[in-house]
């Protein structure tokens, strides 16, 4: 297809980033989603709002705050420096943290919807059958909410692949470190290399279409867990 080394590096980096972010989001997003689905606490509203913020906030705003927080005077920056990790802006892991916030609603909401659709009933039945909470998670919630988890994985991955603004704010465009596909396209357009931009854009378009096609064909089967974004 005539991809340059720089293109391939950008694609590989994007896949690494999206993979890392999706795995971490599934691990931290699942308890948040289950808590949100079940809680009657007054905190439900505020936490829901915070999780959904990246849906409406310009990525530049989120990126700006994260840049400050991860900088030498920010709380995250001070922590990472004390831990001997250095500063995170303009590094791969800085990008990971930014993407975690940015893609959080895309992972939390499908899981939350699926868990809400299951309701308390099967969970109570499991408890009366001597199933402890973790046992119930793996053998009742996970299989029953499977379409929700699949949606969360596809959306989390695809959305991380598609981010741009936040990467620009906290990642810059360092090859092999923070230069992901969307940035590479931006650079190519800036440099008037339209042929290169066409190739990568077509790949992104194809990828996004296939991801969404997968998502909606899964939903046809799991009718109860229709994906909704924004609540």
């Amino acid at each position: 297809m005539g991809l340059t080394d720089s293109d391939i590096n950008a694609i590989w980096l994007t896949i690494q980033l999206a993979f890392t972010v999706t795995i971490i989001l599934l691990i931290i997003g699942t308890p948040i989603a289950i808590w949100l689905a079940k809680t009657k606490s007054w905190l439900r509203g505020p936490i829901n709002a915070i999780v959904a913020l990246p849906l409406v906030l310009p990525p530049t705003v989120l990126g700006f705050y994260l840049l400050i927080a991860m900088g030498p005077n920010g709380p995250i920056g001070q922590l990472t420096e004390q831990l001997g990790l250095g500063l995170l802006p303009f590094t791969f892991w800085g990008l990971v943290i930014g993407s975690l916030f940015y893609s959080l609603p895309f992972v939390v909401q499908p899981i939350q919807n699926a868990v809400e659709a299951i309701g308390q009933k099967p969970l109570e039945a499991a408890a009366t059958l001597h199933s402890k909470p973790m046992d119930t998670f793996f053998h009742v919630i996970l299989p029953l909410a499977k379409p929700g988890f699949i949606s969360a994985t596809i959306l989390g991955f695809a959305h991380t692949v598609g981010e741009f603004g936040i990467v620009l704010m906290i990642g810059g465009n360092i090859p092999m470190e923070t230069k992901v596909v969307s940035i590479q396209i931006y650079d190519q357009v800036e440099a008037l290399e339209y042929a290169g931009a066409h190739r990568l854009s077509a790949i992104m378009l194809g990828f996004s279409f296939i991801a969404l096609l997968l998502l909606y064909s899964f939903q046809k089967r799991g009718l109860a867990n229709k994906f909704r974004i924004g609540r």
């Binding site: 009933k121 099967p122 109570e124 039945a125 499991a126 408890a127 009366t128 059958l129 001597h130 199933s131 402890k132 046992d135 053998h139 009742v140 299989p143 029953l144 499977k146």
Partner: protein
């Protein structure tokens, strides 16, 4: 019938909880002690707190205070609350609650794997055959009828090898035909597995048929409790159930009369005739004599179509101050029977405690 004398054979439930939904607050306050053997029914209208009481016993309600002892095990007191998954109960919900992602076999294995006691293959097969679900093993829950789902839910609860089976109106969601399909299994269950059962129902028919012991709830409080006969023959039975006041007795079939299609049943030295429904001689039957089906007469009216007439003495007369009726308890040979008559008749016949009287029983329901 049932002896409650030692702590180890009874359930002590002194529970308080309040449920909030929208603007409504429901308070449950129960003080009860009932035997851990046989079938204990919790009877009450909808909204009386029956299900909430069961949920408190199972540990499914969060905000419960008080004391809950099952035999020698404490599930709830001031300091501890044993979580649901450690309470050795089998719970059958009104709506079956099978796991949709598992087939019938998977649902049953879910219990088998988590039982605290090893479930032997023989026991598994016995449960499957007792509920007659062997042919359904490969089915998914959405392919089952309501009655089948409920039978599988009961089997699943049995396979956890519980110390007590809790059933929340297992028949309520079923139509009449399905009810008749499940009811015989329930009646047989207790005998076959010798498992104490706690059974919630709003149907006096079901309760009279199944229960040994009854707790009647009204607006979150226990209004009356005792053995099935004590409760149903009591003048303290709540107003809504007053028409259901009855004597419930166990009788033994001693003789068949082929010519009239009748069988003779004896209880505590008394004898009555019943319709012949192929009961076997020597077998026991549970009979229900509704108080309003019993009339009283000063002498033995032999020229009457009423077949069953028993002589006794009036033990007590309780007037219903709000209505026209009175509940008369008659001492038979070694047992008592209740009759609901009008207050006017009591006055007309000058009925008084200690008087000799003839009871005329118009109909007897055979509960199996």
């Amino acid at each position: 019938m049932i002896k409650v004398n030692s702590k180890s054979s009874s359930i002590v439930a002194n529970l308080r909880t309040s449920l909030r939904s929208d603007s409504q607050v429901f308070e449950l306050e129960v003080k009860s002690k009932f035997p851990i053997t046989g079938i204990t029914a919790i009877l009450g209208e909808s909204g009386s707190g029956k299900t909430t009481l069961l949920r408190c016993i199972a540990g499914l309600e969060n905000n419960v205070k008080g004391l809950l002892e099952i035999g020698e095990t404490t599930w709830l007191d001031d300091k501890h609350c044993v979580p649901t998954y450690e309470r050795e109960i089998g719970y059958v919900f009104q709506d079956a609650r099978l796991f949709d992602h598992l087939n019938v076999h998977g649902n049953l294995q879910f219990a088998v794997k988590r039982s605290h006691e090893k479930v032997k293959k023989v026991f598994f097969e016995e449960v499957v055959s007792a509920l007659d679900i062997g042919h359904l093993m490969k089915h998914k829950p959405d392919q089952l009828s309501g009655g089948e789902k409920q039978r599988i839910a009961i089997a699943r609860a049995l396979l956890i090898k519980p110390k007590m089976l809790i059933m929340d109106e297992p028949l309520a969601s079923l139509d009449n035909a399905r009810k008749q399909e499940v009811l015989p299994y329930l009646a047989a269950l207790q005998n076959r597995f010798n498992l104490p059962m706690l059974y919630v129902s709003h149907s006096t028919d079901e309760v009279c048929r199944l229960a040994d012991h009854v707790i009647v709830l009204h607006q979150g409080k226990v209004v009356i409790q005792g053995s099935i006969n004590e409760v149903f023959s009591s003048a303290r039975l709540p107003h809504v159930y007053q028409r259901e006041t009855s004597t419930i007795i166990k009788a033994q079939i001693t003789e068949k009369n082929e010519r009239w299609h009748l069988v003779k049943a004896e209880f505590d030295g008394n004898m009555i005739w019943l319709q012949d429904h192929n009961q076997s001689i020597g077998g026991t039957v549970r009979l229900r004599i509704i108080a309003s089906d019993v009339s009283l007469s000063l002498n033995n009216e032999k020229e009457s179509t009423i077949l069953n007439r028993l002589e006794g003495r009036i033990a007590s007369i309780q007037m219903d101050s709000r209505g026209s009726t009175a509940l008369v308890t008659i001492d038979l040979m070694n047992t008592e029977i209740v009759a609901q008559v009008t207050r006017k008749s009591i006055d007309d016949l000058f009925l008084m405690v200690g008087m000799k009287i003839w009871t005329q029983i118009k109909s007897v329901a055979i509960l199996g």
